[in-house]
Symmetry: C2
Subunit: 210 residues, 2 copies
Amino acid sequence: MQKGILVVVSGFSGAGKGTVMNRLVESHDDYALSISATSRLPRPNEKEGVNYFFKTREEFESMISRDELIEYAEYVGNYYGTPKSFVEERLNEGKNVLLEIEIQGAMKVKSTFPEAILIFIMPPSASELKRRLVGRSTESTEEIDRRMNRAVQESQGIEYYDFILVNDDVDRCAARLHGIVEAVSCTSRRQAGFIERIRQELKEMAGGAE
Amino acid sequence: MQKGILVVVSGFSGAGKGTVMNRLVESHDDYALSISATSRLPRPNEKEGVNYFFKTREEFESMISRDELIEYAEYVGNYYGTPKSFVEERLNEGKNVLLEIEIQGAMKVKSTFPEAILIFIMPPSASELKRRLVGRSTESTEEIDRRMNRAVQESQGIEYYDFILVNDDVDRCAARLHGIVEAVSCTSRRQAGFIERIRQELKEMAGGAE
């Protein structure tokens, strides 16, 4: 069985990353979502090992010191990070692992897993991004402005990503994401085992024909 | 309109490259086959500008001296080569150009067009390759052995290719080839124009919101 591909997904708030990733996991057996560890307390509806792996601060810090996290960050007094073992187990099972993370985290993942592919999901236009943020009636005008300004900052790092995906339609975007993963699985580096096997077979058969 | 992608296709004799490429051109408007120039005489059924661009030896040599060929080679006393202008015109029209060529030619194309993608089409196994060669009843046993030995040689260069495609089924292989071209069109390098445009829009909108 071929090892899975680690797919790092970033994008502006409002680009629809989560919906696209969920669509892909629902429609294809060979994808899994990465699950983060956090030191914050679970909310009433959150389940251990589904939404997060919940840890005490001490447990989280000992994971850091044992190098058990691909990346981590502290945010409003709580730790958040990606447990290495969970990702590696899924990859070894042949699952492609989807990991949603912001740009600094994405760069750290790439340095630990150079074979990871980095995908940035974009809205079709800036005005569409604003429309989607305004459409979420839960957000205040200040929050919308804050997110638009954050998008300006994040847009500086897009070139570090391998692929850019426009989310004009969730199904189409999920299909394109799957297409990229399939294409990457055809790269000669990932097909090295198959190349070596057929090379050996050819030698034996051509030798036998002499 | 986005510029097309130059797709260089190689593979062992009997791997089914030609059939896969024709299937793609028949089923998608945005693909074109590259047409070679040659100094050999046309065969009765061959048409100028369809099968080949037929040139005299002198004309061909003046194309060489004017650097009008992406690559060329001499084979059994005749020149064969790929006219640069034909490929560039199709790419500028937004067509993806399929160019079938052996490995040395593929390397030359890559040095002239670094953005070209190199695809090697493989049979599912060495025994399947032999089966297909034997199935072509036109070929003598010596010719089959010669082609198997040539495949052994060619198999040494497969790592130079960007992608390996297994041709187990023509439609499936053509679809995968198209998927690779679509994935390549999503690379951040090819999306540089879109990135710049949305970055500019975001700045204007965030500025306007302040």
